[in-house]
């Protein structure tokens, strides 16, 4: 169990706020560039999962002590990615039929897993290859 303290709350909420700003910018930008409104949240989720994989491999951290972990993991990456946005986009896709929602959720989860793996294992592979 995490111990709650001022540092955790400060860095976690600040990171969450900044992550949400990046997500909103992604949604705003994609909605202006493309008719595919769901691309914004999907891109934010993919970027967040990739960053998480990279970050977890790059730093061996303790959640209670490391400020960077509180800022990035509990804050920025969690704030960047969203599940509620996934369901809101899914609901908008209802006009295209129920199968569109299932496809969208499947693609979201699959790309999230691939992005996480790419960040996590890609870093190891690159690091080993460079040595």
């Amino acid at each position: 169990m995490m111990t709650i303290n001022g540092t955790l709350l400060l860095w976690g909420t600040l990171g969450g706020g900044l992550g949400a700003l990046c997500r909103y910018t992604s949604v705003y930008s994609f909605s202006r560039l493309s008719r595919l409104f769901w691309l914004g949240n999907l891109a934010a989720n993919i970027l967040g999962c990739f960053s998480l994989g990279l970050f977890l491999n790059f730093l061996d951290f303790d959640l209670n002590n490391l400020t960077a972990a509180q800022f990035f993991w509990l804050g920025a990456i969690a704030g960047l990615t969203t599940l509620s946005g996934l369901f809101i986009d899914g609901q908008k896709l209802l006009v295209q039929g129920r199968s569109a929602i299932f496809r969208f959720i499947f693609v979201s989860v699959a790309t999230g897993l691939v992005a996480y793996s790419a960040g996590f294992y890609g870093f190891s592979w690159l690091h080993t290859g460079l040595q």
């Binding site: 909420t13 949400a20 909103y24 910018t25 990456i77 946005g85 809101i88």
Partner: protein, 124 residues
């Protein structure tokens, strides 16, 4: 100030509240199963559903809509946490837990979102 810049301020303020709620819930997380992570995701989806439905008939400015949906609901829920747990169970070869976590998150968050839509309709 452009509409986009103003929206950023509202989203940031909402996300601070959402992140605070998420962190407070996660401090009560157990070692055995991420119940609190599941709970914050369900609550966030329910809240998003309520606001989305409520805003269909009630006039709420787009800034306040973003404050609630992209800020509070988006800040409370986390997709990365959901994927992280899936990967951890995968690395431990706990296939039953993978199926359970996947089904529990997707089904309960859908149920939370639908319940939120129902609540939003009642509030109209």
């Amino acid at each position: 100030m452009t509409t986009y810049m103003k929206s950023l301020g509202f989203v940031f303020a909402g996300a601070i509240i959402g992140s605070l709620l998420r962190i407070l819930f996660l401090t009560f997380e157990t070692e055995y199963f991420p119940f609190m992570l599941l709970l914050v995701n369900i609550l966030g989806c329910g809240y998003a559903g309520t606001i989305v439905q409520f805003c269909r008939t009630n006039k709420l400015s787009s800034h306040w809509f973003q404050f609630h949906v992209a800020g509070i609901a988006g800040g409370t829920t986390t997709f990365a946490g959901f994927v992280y747990e899936l990967m951890v169970y995968g690395q431990q070869q706990e296939y039953v837990y993978i199926g359970f976590w996947l089904a529990a998150t997707l089904l309960l968050c859908t149920a939370g979102f639908l319940l939120g839509l129902h609540v939003g309709k009642r509030l109209e």
